[in-house]
């Protein structure tokens, strides 16, 4: 413990500072024209968050493995004997532990750099107060999520980042494609969110009722401070219920992290501003799914079945998404597919039981992916298009952007001695090591290995198409020039981080963060042969990309050829989107039509029929009331006669024939 440890008690300042920025920009942004419509306020908020976040992370590094939890009880249900022996408490709190400190670094640093970059990138857009307010709210929610100390609070912030993502994808809401992409992202992640919530319920229901978990329920379902996963201590971690709960967690993570089969929304999310893609859809929010898996794996634990499912989803997704990136011609979508693919690597690592290796890749990936997006944003800012077919020859015009993109691409493809190389080979090595105990992991390891080649190929294809060659292929493109310093500075800082952040793992205090929860990265697992193989694959990918696109020309594929058909399948994303649209438009809509018919005609029809019968009946009954005294007298007399008949004739008859018993 050092003098920094006081910072651990002030971790709540991180979300609070951006929340203040959100309130100021949200309420008064329209009057802050001189502060870039509130942009500088948002930058200041993000800066304070970054400073506090880094101090907190530094304090956590100095006191390795400390677990600082500040919370208050939000809702308390008293216990009752039998069902809930200890009662249930729901708490809200701030938890700083190695895992959240690691995430805090990523979110606050990338958050600040992207916010700064936005000042230049978004300068010509309208609706800036809305943009900066929503981005500040996003940072608040994301930091809140990272600092959550229990699953329910986690879920609240999880939903909040989801809705911010929805707002920001739909930032250009006048554009129909952006509006529909926002809706798609919201709906597809919602599938995962609902399953995630069910998973939380299942954990709560399983643990709140009886057994050792009841104490956990009483303490507010907090992420416990223990040396081993919670489940390992109480059940051997192998019951069917817990397997199902683990799979539901996986479903939630798959929705947020765009894993197969809920991957469709992320490429479409590129309709938002590039800064949003960099921050939300590359570095932070989509990583929340992986973070969820890591938290669950460290604090609760997964069963063996869950682990296999996670490995399968991760391994398959990383290959599957990489294939789609190979042919795409939209610079942002190429990077988006690569994000899905890299998230697949992380999920694969968490599933293979090396959680912190996955988190290590999350850490390095956040920087080089944010860098790639910001560099792509710089290109888009300069030439006004996202179409790779029109670009070309930008290397001389945009030297800083070009270098930044190159560094990002090298790190992404895992070129030796970049961050990406360290973390990706660590994943491959760890998964390879895990295959000895779990032979079923083999196919997914091979897919992941193959993806190394595809990754190098598609990202350098994009690089050569954008920067290679003598001049833009579309002569109509405007003269390109670098952006202002607020755009160049984040590129330079992120370039350094993209190349070097991975080396932090060799700095003992930082390594203690990675060692602080679960299995730490260990470079002994990465044997030299595997690194050599993956380096060969990287060189092969880059070489192929250079051979095909190095001269800055598009490769013409003859129409109707086999290659063209493959390209068409890939461009149509294996028809998944079409399939989901079919489900949405035909199956769900058809069912809704049927339900509508039942509602409208069967249920409402019955109710209206009853209503009409009463209305008509009372119309008839009204005619009885004539207002004529003689008629009323007749009713009185008739009633009296009827009553007498009943009393004197009917009742004796009944008694005589039926009674007597």
């Amino acid at each position: 413990m050092t003098g920094l440890s006081f910072a651990l008690d002030y971790a709540w300042l991180v979300p609070l500072s951006t929340l203040v920025a959100f309130v100021i920009v949200g309420l008064a942004g329209n009057r802050l024209k001189r502060l870039e419509w509130g942009g500088w306020v948002a930058v200041a908020g993000a800066f304070v968050a970054m400073v506090v976040g880094l101090l907190v992370a530094a304090a956590e590094m100095m006191g390795p493995g400390t677990y600082t939890d500040q919370s208050f009880t939000w809702l308390s249900v008293p216990g009752s004997p039998g069902t809930f022996p200890n009662g249930v408490n729901l708490v809200m709190g701030v938890l700083v532990d190695p895992l959240s400190a690691l995430m805090l670094i990523v979110v606050t640093v990338v958050g600040f750099l992207v916010m700064l970059y936005s000042i230049g990138y978004m300068h010509h857009d309208r609706g800036l107060p809305r943009y900066y307010a929503e981005l500040s709210l996003f940072l608040t929610a994301m930091n809140g999520l990272v600092l959550s100390d229990n699953l329910l609070e986690f879920f609240l912030f999880w939903e909040l980042v989801g809705v911010c993502s929805y707002f920001l994808i739909g930032f250009y809401y006048e554009k129909p494609s952006a509006a529909s992409a926002a809706k798609e992202a919201f709906l597809v992640t919602r599938v995962g969110d609902v399953l995630f919530l069910l998973g939380i319920f299942l954990y709560f229901a399983t643990f709140a009722t009886s057994g050792p978990g009841a104490g956990w329920a009483a303490s507010g379902f907090k992420f416990a401070n223990g040396t081993q996963p919670f489940l390992a201590g109480i059940s051997g971690g192998n019951s069917t219920t817990l397997t199902i709960a683990g799979l539901l967690m996986l479903a939630g993570a798959a929705g947020k992290s765009a894993q197969f089969p809920l991957h469709v929304w992320l490429p479409d999310a590129m309709e938002g501003p590039t800064t949003v893609s960099a921050l939300i859809h590359a570095a932070t929010m989509v990583a929340a799914g992986v973070y969820l898996l890591a938290v669950t794996s460290i604090f609760l634990g997964f069963t063996a079945t869950d682990q296999l499912a996670i490995v399968a989803i991760g391994g398959f997704t990383c290959f599957f998404a990489a294939t789609m990136a190979v042919v795409n011609t939209d610079i942002k979508r190429v990077i988006a597919y690569s994000t899905i693919s890299q998230l697949g690597y992380m999920v694969l690592a968490v599933g293979a039981g090396v959680t912190m290796v996955g988190m290590y890749h999350l850490f390095t990936h956040a920087f080089f992916k944010a860098l790639l997006f910001l560099a792509a944003g710089s290109v888009i800012h300069a030439v006004g298009t996202q179409d790779l077919r029109k670009m070309g020859g930008l290397w001389k015009k945009l030297p800083i952007t070009g270098l930044a993109f190159l560094f990002g691409a090298l790190s992404l493809s895992g070129f030796p001695f970049t961050s990406g190389f360290l973390s990706k080979d660590d994943i491959l090595g760890s998964v390879l090591a895990a295959t000895s105990a779990h032979p079923l992991y083999w196919p997914f390891f091979l897919l992941a290995l193959l993806t190394v080649f595809l990754t190098a190929y598609y990202i350098f294809r994009a690089f050569f198409l954008a920067f290679g060659g003598p001049a833009p292929r579309d002569p109509a493109l405007p003269e390109a020039h670098e952006g202002p310093w607020v755009m160049r500075l984040p590129l330079i800082v992120l370039s350094a981080l993209a190349l070097g952040a991975g080396w932090l793992a060799f700095y003992p205090p930082f390594a203690s963060l990675l060692a602080g929860g679960g299995v730490p990265p260990s470079f002994s697992a990465t044997d030299l042969a595997l690194s050599a193989v993956s380096f060969g694959l990287v060189l092969g990918g880059i070489g192929l990309a250079y051979a095909l696109f190095g001269n800055g020309r598009m490769v013409e594929v003859p129409a109707g050829s086999a290659a063209d058909r493959v390209r068409s399948v890939l461009l149509n994303r294996y028809y998944f989107k079409a399939g989901y649209d079919w489900i949405g438009l035909r199956a769900v809509y058809g069912f809704s039509r049927a339900a509508d018919f039942v509602e409208r005609y069967v249920i409402d029809g019955t109710i209206r029929g009853i209503e009409r019968a009463f209305a008509r009946g009372s119309d008839q009954l009204r005619k009885v009331q004539t207002g004529i005294v003689s008629d009323y007298a007749a009713y009185v007399i008739g009633g009296l006669v009827g009553f007498l008949l009943l009393l004197l004739v009917v009742a004796p008859w009944i008694v005589a024939h039926l009674g007597g018993s």
Binding site: T626, V629, S630, I637
Partner: protein, 105 residues
């Protein structure tokens, strides 16, 4: 008293009641309606008187007393009824009960 048999007396009061009810149901003139009501009440009064006479002396007085009360009741009822007739005549210029149907709706 022996000149009248109980059956004959009951038939007389039954007939009076029937005449009264018939009048109530068929007359549209308010005054005739009131007269019909009086006839029906008198049928009841007659019944009280007969049964007081035929029964033992102990309950005889109470039957006679009720008959007297009923006569008084009928008188007050006619008084109120005739007041209504006057008011109705002033209001509508007619004492036809079929036209006095403002309470219909």
């Amino acid at each position: 008293m022996s000149a009248f048999s109980p059956a004959g007396l009951l038939a007389l009061s039954g007939g009076l009641l029937a005449i009264g009810l018939f009048g109530i149901l068929t007359r549209r003139n308010f005054i005739l309606l009131l007269i019909s009501v009086e006839i029906a009440i008198n049928a009841a009064v007659l019944n009280f008187v007969y049964f007081a006479a035929f029964s033992g002396s102990a309950s005889a007085l109470s039957g006679q007393a009720i008959a007297v009360v009923l006569i008084g009741l009928a008188a007050t009822e006619v008084a109120v009824g005739l007041a209504i007739v006057l008011a109705l005549n002033r209001l509508r210029g007619s004492i036809n009960v079929a036209e006095a149907n403002a309470l219909k709706s």
